[in-house]
Amino acid sequence: MLTTASHKKVLHQLNRSFLNEVGGLSRFAGRFFNQAFRPRYEIAEFIRQCFVIGYKSLPLIGLTSFILGLVLTMQLRPSMVSYGVESQLPAIVGIAVIREIGPVITALIFAGKIGSSIGAELGSMRVTEQIDAMEVSGTNPFKYLVVTRVLAATLMLPILVLLGDAISLFGSWIGINIRGATSFHLYWTQVFDNLAFTDVLPAFFKSFFFGFAVGIIGCFKGYNSSKGTEGVGISANSAVVVSSIVIFILDLLAVQVTDALGLN
């Protein structure tokens, strides 16, 4: 009896903290939309954040994407060969990368890099009162720190996904050429021959949502960081964990939506 009671209590608390989290995040997102489209616009800071969030993430995304394309191709080859459809390898890899693996893996790595850095940066700014200092310096810290970062993450992730896709496909071409010889031109033709708009566009659009999720969750966690250095660590860590989970949930929703719209 006692255990069930304590279980219930734990569940209750968990539930409350979960709902509290969801509610807080929703309010935070509401505040973002409320503030994002009103002056003043922090254009210079936005561009700086785009540079930091987008351009600076490219080496990491590029490396992982390249390896991903290469490994995926080499792993797929044996089964493709056993079915006698080795020539379909570029088509399969192309569709897999463009539709699903590219956006999701890129978003997850993005969450790991950017989500944690936003969480830690804003967290430490909160803890050391830098956010308060901004506010007393006549700056709306929400606009200056949160809006710019969320917008930058939302707009930069799709770009990273596109470049990641391109690099993945290049890696895949290398992978194909490790065990065979396919000209780049033929490979490219085979990839594109089997792609449709319904492969590219839903994947492209969902990466905006992934970017937004990483940005808003990272900012939410950092902006509401608790005091102390421990708080900063928790912010950074939970930003990555929560945004990774949300990416998968969004991915699930995206596939349902595209399915419902008949775009599959």
């Binding site: 540079f51 351009y55 463009i98 770009i159 596109l162 792609l195 449709a196 708009f197 492209f204």
Partner: protein, 327 residues
């Protein structure tokens, strides 16, 4: 400040590179789907489109020519397929080009194939409706095969009667036994006999095959897909037919010849006459016999091919087994 400009440039390059890839991606797909560039519309009406969907490729003699844009059901037996064709093809596709639906690869997508006709016609214009060729599907192949079989059966029967006529021809028998008739003529006639004997055997084999197919022996029907087989069979039947006709005329000639020889002999006109006749008639007969030989040989090889065709292999193996059992 200089640092800032550099980082802005880098950001610009980064963003543009990403967007460039997107544009390339969309353009390449669009190009494959004929969304860009000028094109025109051709239509074709099928009874059965076999799962063709919009967006499937249209090929002209194997060259990518366009895509299927729309599929409309006109009535319960007719489906109109609207195809968007590259403008470049407008100088190549004629009105009498034939559209058909087939499958790309073993398990691939459906495609519309437009094949040129050898007969000249005007070029196809926008909104023209192309004639269609019924798609080759398994059921239809089987049906064709059954028809062909019955044809073969009839022909084989004819062949048999002809051959039997030759065999039973008393005139021929007499001739062969008649030592007054020159040796070479007799040899020729003997070869006619053996040829016709072969023909009988062929006819028997054919009968058996037909029986087998009709009874649905093995999984023959289910995997029968090779249209070339049907064509071969048809060719074979034509040959047999020809052989039969030839044999018929040979019989007539032989009868004539035999009659002439007998008359000559009985009227005591001597062998000179016979030899004269011989040189003309025999040549004719020999040529005919040659043709028969060739025809039956051809048919034989067709049958041999048939035996080796994997579809029929099982059937022939079974036949052999039965033979062994019988022994």
């Amino acid at each position: 400040m200089a640092k800032k400009v550099v980082s802005n440039v880098k950001l610009g390059v980064f963003v543009l590179a990403g967007l460039l890839f997107l544009v390339i991606l969309l353009y390449m797909i669009g190009k494959n789907r004929n969304l860009f560039g000028s094109n025109y519309v051709l239509k074709a009406r099928f009874e059965n489109i076999q799962g063709l969907v919009t967006g499937n490729n249209v090929r002209f003699s194997g060259i990518q020519a366009g895509t299927v844009k729309r599929i409309d059901i006109i009535n319960d037996t007719l489906i109109e397929v609207t195809m968007v064709i590259d403008k470049k093809m407008s100088k190549i596709i004629h009105k009498n080009a034939v559209a058909s639906i087939s499958t790309e690869g073993l398990v691939g997508n459906k495609v519309v194939n437009i094949s040129p006709s050898k007969i000249p016609d005007a070029l196809a214009k926008d909104d023209d409706i192309l004639p269609v060729k019924k798609a080759v599907n398994t059921d239809e192949i089987m049906e064709t095969l059954y028809n062909t079989n019955s044809d073969v059966a009839i022909i084989a029967a004819g062949l048999r009667t002809t051959v039997e006529r030759i065999n039973k021809s008393s005139a021929l028998w007499n001739l062969l036994n008649d030592e007054s008739i020159p040796e070479n003529i007799r040899i020729s006639f003997a070869s006619i006999r053996s040829t016709t004997g072969k023909a009988v055997k062929i006819a028997d084999d054919l009968d058996k095959i037909i029986l087998g197919v009709k009874n649905g022996e093995g999984s023959l029907g289910a995997i029968l897909k090779d249209t070339s087989l049907v064509k071969n069979l048809n060719d074979a039947i034509l040959t047999i037919n020809k052989v039969g006709n030839e044999a018929d005329s040979v019989t007539v000639e032989i009868n004539k010849l035999v009659k002439g020889v007998h008359e000559d002999v009985s009227q005591g006109k001597g062998t000179v006459n016979a030899l004269l006749k011989d040189s003309m008639m025999v040549k004719k007969i020999e040529a005919s016999l040659d043709n028969i030989q060739k025809g039956t040989d051809g048919f034989n090889s067709n049958m041999e091919a048939l035996k080796h065709n994997f579809l029929f292999r099982g059937y022939f193996r079974k036949l052999e087994k039965q033979k062994k059992k019988a022994q």
